[in-house]
Symmetry: C2
Amino acid sequence: MVNIAVLGYGTVGAGVVEVLNVNGESISKRCGHEICVKYVLDLRDFPGDPIQEKIVHDYNIIVHDPEIRIIVEVMGGVEPAYSFVKEAILKGKSVCTSNKELVAKHGAELLELSKQKKVNFLFEASVGGGIPIIRPLNQSLTADEIEEITGILNGTTNYILTKMSNEGLDFDTVLKEAQQKGYAERNPEADVEGYDTCRKIAILSSLAFGMQVDFEDIYTEGISKITDTDIKYAKALGASIKLLGTSRKESDHVYAMVAPMLIKPTHPLYSVNDVFNGIFVRGNVIGDVMFYGSGAGKLPTASAVVADVVDAAKHIGTNIMTLWSSKKLELSGMKNARHKYFVRVAGNTDEIKEQAALLFGQVEEVKAPDIVNEYAFITTHMSEETYQEKASNMDHIVSMIRVMF
Amino acid sequence: MVNIAVLGYGTVGAGVVEVLNVNGESISKRCGHEICVKYVLDLRDFPGDPIQEKIVHDYNIIVHDPEIRIIVEVMGGVEPAYSFVKEAILKGKSVCTSNKELVAKHGAELLELSKQKKVNFLFEASVGGGIPIIRPLNQSLTADEIEEITGILNGTTNYILTKMSNEGLDFDTVLKEAQQKGYAERNPEADVEGYDTCRKIAILSSLAFGMQVDFEDIYTEGISKITDTDIKYAKALGASIKLLGTSRKESDHVYAMVAPMLIKPTHPLYSVNDVFNGIFVRGNVIGDVMFYGSGAGKLPTASAVVADVVDAAKHIGTNIMTLWSSKKLELSGMKNARHKYFVRVAGNTDEIKEQAALLFGQVEEVKAPDIVNEYAFITTHMSEETYQEKASNMDHIVSMIRVMF
């Protein structure tokens, strides 16, 4: 029997307890041990709930109990999660977490510490909810040099963009509806401004390239400026607008960014809709692979956490090697990233057409029904620096969206 | 340093050597050991090729060399692969294979033997080429009870169906072209009649349900009877025809089958086109996940084999637990499998319409442009047994395709 403690009885914490109850028998079989929840740490009490007898309010009870071999951290946020997790590892306990803030900020250090203490720090649920992506990156793509990781990593924004696209609604209307349905937080900033995606692509990039990618270094743009008119243009192009977190190795540089981008049906991420997440990986020998599933939600996320618990229980006394050094990976500045750009400019169509040709050379004109007094075009491939330079000479740019085709 | 031997210098064998050469440095880093190819077993010689100095023609040299810790078996076919692999395991060597015939037939036994000998028998490349699916099933979906696995598991047939659909061509024309391009074998039976898919879904089902699923028990239907007219109807329905291998748990029974099926854009496998493969898994807590990538090809397959070699090298002396008992899983007969059925009947439209209503009750009429002298419809959900019974009373059925929506 392996005793575990769950820190935080919120949605994911309750999910972990539920998954262990519902699938306990088969989990024990796969694990080789029975997994027993001995404590649940929460500030609240849950009178009447069978969990009440396991509730403790003091972390010291857990961390000083030598029977506890694995700690599940599902509180979220950097503190006190970081202090709790660090202390647990120092005391020789493995930790499984769904906490992307913690992993993005302190992943490298906690992995190094786990290695020293011969325990494990596992975080499959921190990116892509239930989708297996951390373990495949660590253990299945070991023969490859990763060239690119691009993901739809946030269910809320994907739901909003899908809904805007399917129903022709504007951003604010859809956001309000998503909030009513509980798909978006009351304060939706972390999702819609891309901060959540940013932390997740930082974690994936760190694992893919084996060095610390600081999320603060990643250029991040959200979807709050995307309008129903942008969506109309996307449709006219046979394309879709998705909020992508992407990192790419080009010769010796890695650049990373989070931004809404136009993609076409030939890209595997095109058909990742609603609250689903998808993670596309390109390796130099495996070619293109994609992982798809529920990026959030109580049970899918808990499924990933419990799978980590099983792995930790099977590896008591042995560290599963994860290459993520604390050495910082200096990202190539955004100015070197190369794309095509979809640009909308307000004003007299003929005049702008002339100006666009003059500034950008060959451009592809984009027309969408019922849109007047503006001209839209797609540039050729060029660096962000070149684009910004040219665009600064263009008056009345309404919007620019990067193009991934 | 870990010495390995490669059995068979065909496409995949040459790929394994190439991947180890190209990515050797990062592979050693992830592995913790340098991987060195000491021997390559092949009947042929390769004068002028640097591999020549490693070529041996006698397996005894390899299996009796205590320096060889891992054997890569990429010969294909059950014999002599089975004898070679068994002997290797008995001699305390781990084996990594891409051989689906071997794994489908003897997987359970070879896994049991590896467990006894504290070595590993790994076979990520046997299903889905480079796509990580075996390791995720074993190690990432451990918190779930698998309810369904459905895959597009054969690139050749998927290429043919995609091409028929995109270009309105008939089966024979596309097959001929695929053969010319090297996407289909000269004898295409194993692919187009579904035998390849059948072995792969047998392997996946055995892992998902932890018991031996014999491929001979799986109802298997290929795509050679699919016509351009069927494709026209699929398009009229906004659907696509895909060759699917599927197994599903319903209450206490598991049924498995391989057949062309109609699927809609809402299904994640709908957008898996050309030579790509996709594997959809539904778990009772994780919900729906899908894995996508190159299902074949020299380097993608070699990538999966080498990832297994890395795993084997990291686990020398320890068996990685895989739940696949040799106890046979008795599949529920096809007669209990439930679907809707798309049926085309030749003759006078009004008469058939009446007969269809009489036999099948409520049906959905399907119309496609330029098709005359036949009537097509989709039934309600019913068991295969009920369908067959009703269909036997219907004259002139041209074709029936199962419907997955």
